[in-house]
């Protein structure tokens, strides 16, 4: 072994290099405040290692990026751990960079003759931010897609070179596949390459000038080995521990639903370490003072000036009170960024629209996983295709778009939006269920705006019947109403009531007789057999999938409202919705959204 080492040393000089590294003098001995550079190097190594392994499973194209990240997160052995390590180490790096910068400024390690080394440090800071920005897009999920789109738009407002710069990073005029391939090349090639070069220069210059020891010395001088090595090691392990804690707690890193350029994603926000900039751009003072130049000032000029001051710090320090100015400037900068970050988080917490969007985004990301698992894999058309035919994803959107100007769903527009206007048509949450029907048949409620209050049927025969005759019949035979409701609701065959309907077979059977005899529903409605005389909507199959598709196709059809139809448009007949779309809407309203059933229906 010794011979081998000396053979190698003769040819490489590695022993000398190792000695130089380990026996570097530290005036005043080892201290905890010197660990930050080492923890950052450690993080960078972790990122390279995890990054390369992620690369082995990642597939950078608009059609496969999300799918390959899904594979890493949910299928690959230890994939979630790998993603989590990469994700949270990136965040740790930003925190450590700030601590390192603080220590360098406080200890005066940026002053002559270490100016160039300080600048390399700043270059590393910006490269790290660049890696964070480019990495955010790579999963090609809704959040990264939406947030990064904004970042590339901001590039366009840089004076003179902006439009060309934007075109370069976006890969043309349209944000999409080419943006992804460029960002991947930047994230896995260009930026890490530059970073390695900058780290080499940074460390080489650090060694040339030696450590900037903090006065006063508390201990005698010592070598890097062993005390400082131990402290650095402990600090690196602490960082790793923190990263592992977050990774395990969140089971890897979050992955939202696949990017869909046709759908709004109102929960898009940049990564937390960019929130201060995001919030800064929101400050009204920018538009108040600079008018339409506010964006340029906020996104380019102010950050540019701040960077210029940071870069000029070694020269500022030469002046009287210069070092103090630097300290105050950095302190104010960090305080300001911290306050802006807090303000941004608070604003989102207090914003119901954002909270609703976040809930929807989380639900969608869980949903796509459930669909993929029910489908035993991702179809060739990609994961987004599963969501496009999923009633619980598409249903509420279609409802908000086509139905919510009259109807409501549990008081909102399907997506959580609440209108100030009263509904002019019934609330369809739970349509077809016993509870919905029981509400309709309650004297005080049928004329409310959750039922017929906003329609012409408010003063119609049905409302009159429910208000006057029905309570008397109910008083005469209290059990009949429950049975009748069960019988009519059974027509809908809702999946949510399937178990109850098997159990209540006798009740339903009795109810069917009550529909005809006790309540006389069949005086106007048809029920379970054709009736040419019927003047009100058909109760045969009421609330079933076919029934809902039927009334949405043409509410003025004989089977439904006929000539008495209020304002409901004939969505199917007019070609505004296809049969498949109306089916998805019906499935969603009926709660028929079991992933296995939905996936089977797609085949």
């Amino acid at each position: 072994m010794k011979r081998l080492i000396s053979w190698l040393d003769d040819r490489t000089g590695m022993n000398g290099l190792l000695k130089e590294a380990l026996f570097e003098r530290i005036p005043g001995g080892a201290r905890w405040r010197y660990v930050w550079g080492s923890t950052l190097t450690f993080c960078f190594v972790v990122q390279i290692l995890t990054g390369v392994v992620l690369w082995m499973a990642y597939s950078p194209s608009a059609g496969t990026a999300w799918e390959s990240v899904y594979y890493i997160q949910h299928e690959m052995t230890g994939g979630w751990l790998l993603r989590g390590l990469h994700h949270y180490t990136a965040q740790a790096m930003h925190v450590l960079l700030v601590l390192h910068l603080l220590q360098v400024i406080i200890d005066g390690a940026y002053k002559a003759p270490r100016e160039v080394n300080f600048w390399f440090g700043l270059v590393l800071l910006f490269l790290t931010l660049g890696l964070g920005l480019t990495g955010y897009l790579l999963p090609w999920d809704q959040k990264g897609y939406g947030a990064t789109k904004v970042a590339t738009s901001l590039a366009g407002i840089v004076p003179v070179i902006g439009p060309s710069l934007q075109k370069l990073v976006v890969g043309g005029t349209e944000y999409g596949h080419h943006t992804l391939t460029r960002f991947f090349a930047l994230h896995a090639g260009v930026l890490p390459g530059l970073m390695i070069a900058a780290i080499v220069a940074h460390v080489a210059l650090f060694r040339k000038h030696g450590i900037t020891a903090k006065q006063p010395y508390k201990k005698p001088d010592a070598n890097f080995w062993p005390d400082q090595v131990l402290m650095d090691g402990v600090a690196c392990l602490a960082v790793l521990g923190a990263v592992l804690y977050f990774t395990v707690r969140h089971h890897g890193a979050e992955l939202y639903a696949p990017a869909d350029p046709t759908q709004p994603f109102n929960a898009a926000r940049p990564e937390w370490y960019f929130l201060f900039l995001f919030e800064f751009l929101k400050l009204h003072v920018l538009t108040d003072w600079f008018g339409h130049h506010g964006e340029l000032v906020g996104a380019i000029i102010v950050p540019g000036l701040i960077s210029a001051v940071l870069g000029a710090m070694p020269f500022i320090a030469l002046r009287r009170y210069g070092h103090r100015f630097n300290l105050v400037f950095l302190g104010a900068l960090l305080l300001g960024a911290g306050l802006l970050t807090l303000r941004s988080i608070r604003a989102d917490q207090a914003n119901p629209e954002f909270q609703a969007a976040m809930t929807q985004a989380k639900a969608e990301s869980d949903r796509v996983v459930a669909l993929i698992q029910a489908n035993r894999g991702i179809p060739r058309a990609g994961a987004a295709a599963l969501l496009k035919e999923d009633p619980s994803t598409v249903g509420p959107r279609m409802f908000a778009q086509h139905c919510a100007s009259c109807h409501r769903y549990d008081g909102h527009d399907g997506l959580g939006g609440v209108s100030k206007e009263l509904a002019s048509a019934p609330d369809l949450k739970g349509f077809g269920s016993r509870a919905w029907l029981a509400g309709l048949l309650e004297a005080g409620r049928i004329t409310n705006h959750t039922y017929y209050g906003g329609t012409r049927f408010r003063d119609g025969k049905m409302a009159k019947y429910v208000t006057t005759k029905l309570p008397k019949k109910h008083a005469a035979d209290p059990s009949a109403l429950e049975a009748m409701i069960a019988a009519v609701s059974a027509e809908a065959a809702l999946p949510g009531q399937a178990a109850a309907e098997v159990r209540d077979g006798a009740l339903i059977e009795r109810g069917r007789t009550h529909v005809r005899e006790t309540f006389g529903c069949t005086d106007c409605h048809a029920f379970r057999k054709p009736d040419d005389e019927a003047s009100a909507p058909d109760l045969t199959g009421w609330g079933s999938r076919d029934w809902i598709i039927g009334i949405t196709t043409d509410p003025a059809h004989e089977r439904f409202y006929g000539k008495r139809n209020d304002r409901m448009p004939a969505f199917g007949k007019e070609g505004r919705l296809t049969a498949a779309e109306m089916g998805l809407l019906a499935d969603w309203i009926r709660g028929d959204t079991d992933p296995e059933r939905v996936v089977a229906g797609m085949k």
């Binding site: 738009s153 954002f354 908000a400």
Partner: protein
């Protein structure tokens, strides 16, 4: 798309406005700014529309964000 920073602007039928989630601000149905705190330098961009027979042809283009003038990205 919002002319401020390129966020996805969606029509909210319930409120009768175009809503931008990034800065929680709105545009009127005709695209004009109707929020006193809107950070946007201009209203929503309109697209060229042509009716050919019974078809409507829309010329879709992206416009540069963050500036007052409407300049297409080309």
């Amino acid at each position: 798309m919002c002319p401020h920073a390129g966020c996805f602007v969606d029509y909210q039928a319930a409120r009768g406005v175009f809503f931008c989630p990034c800065h929680d601000s709105t545009f009127a149905v005709d695209g004009s700014i109707n929020d006193p705190h809107s950070p946007s330098p201009r209203g929503l961009d309109t697209l060229e529309v042509e009716v050919k027979g019974d078809e409507v042809w829309v010329r879709f283009r992206n416009y540069r964000t963050g500036i007052q003038e409407k300049v297409p990205v080309s």
